[in-house]
């Protein structure tokens, strides 16, 4: 029989596939448009446009992301149990720690003053071999820079958020937006931005100083504004700096399958 951690990862993949379909469905609705923004004071020749989302992402996306992360987290815990001695399996789990709890300062004391965290960590890996313990410690997110989307950090953050806190909050975001102004079926102007644009973000600023404000007022009524871009859905998670793309789960799962789980499997007892 396939080991349970692989079954869990397969199930996470199923949720991820469904998640991608759901995001595709949402993107096809093109739930965004440009809205005329406030004119900067004293610059009546400038026309600004901001992004508005007319429909929030379906809550189902959040539920699917939660199920996906839960299965990844479970796969790691199942592995941790299999890596532990039979007598210690009741307390075994895969610890994921953000703080460098094992790091010692020049004085030989622990840098992080959190004995509870160390106790929890030690209890979770108590039944593992010394090699396995070292491997688990090496994989910890605290060994990697905070801004790197470390796979374990992603799993922990999403699973914790989903399990105990709340359904994960979702925000639509447009990547690589282009706004264009059209009149009588012909393009007038366009502007592209390469940054991520959330609801209310400025998409473009057009300078009409070459024509009189009165003429611009007339022209404006016949102008069609189009917005294009790649629609993403970001999760708002307390533990993570800034919103995280839901599809970050995809490289996370791939990394678990290809790197983390195969290395840990070597330590199964």
């Amino acid at each position: 029989m396939t080991e349970t951690w692989w079954l869990k990862l397969d199930r996470a993949q199923e949720h991820l596939d469904e998640l991608q379909d759901e995001i595709g469905r949402y993107a096809r609705l093109e739930p965004y448009h440009a809205e005329e923004g406030r004119q900067p004071k004293g610059k009546r020749h400038l026309a600004t446009y901001v992004l508005r989302f007319s429909k929030p992402p379906m809550p189902r996306i959040s539920l699917l992301a939660g199920d996906c992360a839960h299965n990844m987290r479970s796969a790691l815990d199942h592995l941790a149990v299999a890596m532990s001695d039979k007598d210690e399996r009741s307390s075994a789990k895969f610890p994921i720690e953000e703080k460098p709890i094992w790091q010692r300062g020049a004085d030989g004391e622990f840098v992080v003053k959190d004995d509870d965290a160390r106790d929890r960590f030690a209890r979770a890996i108590r039944g593992m071999t010394p090699e396995a313990k070292a491997l688990v410690k090496r994989m910890q997110p605290y060994n990697f820079e905070r801004n790197i989307a470390n796979a374990l950090r992603v799993v922990r953050a999403i699973d914790n958020a989903d399990k105990h806190r709340d359904i994960i909050g979702l925000k639509p975001v447009l990547d690589g937006s282009t706004i264009s102004l059209w009149r009588n079926g012909k393009p007038l102007l366009h502007e592209s931005r390469f940054s991520l644009a959330y609801d209310g973000a400025q998409l473009g600023e057009f300078d009409f100083s070459a024509i009189s404000p009165r003429l611009w007022a007339t022209v404006k009524t016949n102008v069609q504004v189009k917005v294009r871009g790649s629609l993403h859905v970001a999760m708002e998670i307390v533990d993570v700096t800034g919103p995280m793309d839901v599809l970050e789960l995809s490289p996370t799962l791939a990394y678990l399958r290809e790197a983390i789980v195969p290395s840990l499997e070597q330590c199964v007892r």
């Binding site: 939660g66 299965n71 479970s74 815990d77």
Partner: protein, 269 residues
């Protein structure tokens, strides 16, 4: 004063759990239509005595079904935990911590020791630390109020299955055959022993259902006719002091409904 808790997120999780239950029923029906959970095996006829044994042999089960049960209970567990999240949000002066979750106990003494006694204390401790309003209702919902066996309480089943699934094992599928199978053959049966009571049978082993004596000791074209009733249940094995625990489709459905009832009770607070 009414708390007016917003528990729409708990409700979304319960809906997701129900979705998993319906998917499970559909998938199992499709699988069983293709290949039943059992096949019939006839032992060779003993040339001296003429006896032949008829067995039901369990087909290997897809562990996938147990994985879906894992997702189902995970969502129910989250629905319960979100109640505590909502209570924390509604309580001034406390912030949500990782220790916060919905307590589930089958022993009142343990509940009082770990969480507190709403009769004596105004605020909960441990996993409901700082929660005052709702503390009494949390206590009323505890499985230890169920007589005679608190282990049959749906909340306890959610707790047991979600813990097992998250850390250790996937729920195993047990198919229990029921009813009578019609056995046909070309031969002369002079004696038939029906097996009406089965003892010490486990769902993974062959099950003797009938013994037939042929005289002369030969028969041809032996086959089983007609449908077999199958009772489907999922179980998690013994864990520490906790005995084996099983649920069937009806119980899974009751678990969803019970959690919905718990959520509704908190909405009235």
């Amino acid at each position: 004063m009414s708390l007016a808790l917003d528990l729409t997120r708990s409700e979304a999780k319960i809906s997701r759990a129900t979705e998993h239950l319906e998917a499970l029923k559909r998938e199992m029906a499709t699988t069983y239509e293709k290949t039943g959970p059992f096949k019939i095996w006839f032992s060779p006829i003993d040339p001296q005595s003429g006896w032949c044994q008829v067995f039901l042999v369990p087909e290997p089960q897809k562990p996938r079904f147990g994985i879906v049960v894992g997702d189902l209970v995970h969502n129910l567990r989250s629905a319960l935990d979100y109640i505590v999240t909502a209570l924390v949000d509604a309580t001034k002066g406390i912030t949500l911590a990782s220790c916060h979750q919905f307590p589930v106990f089958i022993d009142r003494g343990r509940f009082v020791e770990k969480v507190g006694d709403p009769g004596n204390a105004s605020l909960g401790k441990g996993c409901i630390k700082g929660i005052g309003q709702g503390f009494g209702l949390i206590e009323q919902m505890q499985p230890y109020h169920r007589k005679p066996d608190p282990r049959l309480d749906p909340l306890w089943l959610v707790y047991r299955f979600s813990n097992a699934d998250k850390h250790r094992e996937i729920a195993e599928l047990a198919n229990v055959p029921g009813g009578k199978i019609d056995i046909r053959f070309n031969g002369i049966a002079v004696e038939v022993k029906e097996v009406n009571e089965v003892r010490n049978w486990t769902p993974k082993t062959h099950l003797l259902i009938r013994e037939i004596r042929f005289d002369p000791p030969c028969a041809y074209n032996m086959r089983a006719v007609g449908p077999l009733n199958v009772g489907v249940s999922f179980y998690v094995p013994k864990w520490g002091a906790e005995p084996y625990c099983s649920v069937n489709f009806l119980t899974l459905s009751e678990m969803c409904e019970h959690v919905r009832m718990v959520v509704d009770a908190f909405k009235l607070l």
